[in-house]
Amino acid sequence: MQTHRRKRLEIVVEKKRAAAVLDLLDRDPEVTGWTMLPCLGGRGHTGTRLPEGATDALDTVVILVVTSEAVAQRVMAAVLELLAEHVGIVLLSDVEVARPAHF
């Protein structure tokens, strides 16, 4: 099966800040889609987060974007700027897709 190389961006970000990241993605005409997954918790420079019945202030999500190398670079830079000192990480890796027009 013939496949095509794309890049996969994964952004771990606070749920309350996710809308801003999604806005950024939705404004970029070359980003054709994204997928958001819930996290159960995490640890990083801002401490440990575990499921917290009392408040959703610490909830995080993963946002997955599959796109071309060039767009991925651009989005990665923009997201990192948006996050600035906020919580969050951005990961970049290789991926192959079968329907190149889709991404």
């Binding site: 401490g47 987060r49 917290e52 019945g53 408040t55 959703d56 202030a57 000192e85 906020h86």
Partner: protein, 322 residues
Amino acid sequence: MDAALANLLSPPVLCFLLGLLAGVVRSDLEIPEAVARALALYLIFSIGFKGGVELAGTSDPRALLPPLLVAAGLSLLLPLPAFGLLRLLTRASRIDAAAIAAHYGSVSIVTYVAATSFLQARGIRFEGFMAALVAVMETPAILTGLLLARSGKSGAMDARRRRELLHEILANGSVVLLLGSFAIGLLTGAEGMRRLEPVVASGFQGVLCFFLLDMGLLVARRFTGFRTMGAGLLLFGLLMPIVGAATGLLAGRLVGLSLGGTALLATLSASASYIAVPAAMRLALPRADPSLSLSLALGVTFPFNLLLGIPLYLAAAGWLFG
């Protein structure tokens, strides 16, 4: 003493202790997060709605204004002694101290709910508009916290961040729900209560029990957090509620609240937020350590108020009312 014991032996507090125990022995007992959050919304809706209905039944709703202003003032000002105490007792950074201070100016809705349940069990009445005071006390403290954090730095927030923060404060879910359900109670009055009574009134104690069970589990998990906390912070978490309660007692007496209302205002002042403020702080002071303030508010001050504070503040109010 008697009241303190009765408090400890009430079903809601026993459920909290059960959760605490389960957490401490690392039981896998777990209330699904989605359900715990729905129960919190239920509690907020119930106290708002019941407050509104009660206010609708009183003759003079204008009596509401002075207490409202006083409550907002308490929320604005209480972060100051909190910040001072923190700088005195602990080595928390300016930013961390400011963030914690904001939590203590604001209020814990569940502590309030537990206090109303305690008063009701003893047949002590309070003003219907108390629920509105809870709403106005939630967010002013955030502003003071920010000013305290910035006081050291020259740089101000940029415009976008300031807009975001204002929005977070005004449109915070718990504030909107509390004020909204209060308004619905006010508008629909006794007829509304007749329709919702089986849910908002009869179910209240049971839901509170389940919610406090979950709070116990959460608090126990926080315990590990404050093993690393240092005695100064612990001390602050026990001292600050006393300072807040004392201020609240005097303010309640001065503005003419009833015995029950005064005890509730003291409880509110003594309590620390873990819903509205943490959310705002993540946005305003992202570099403040969120687990520090949550561990204090949830792990030290909340159990102190629930187990000892509430009967204490009522006793003090009783003494004040002679």
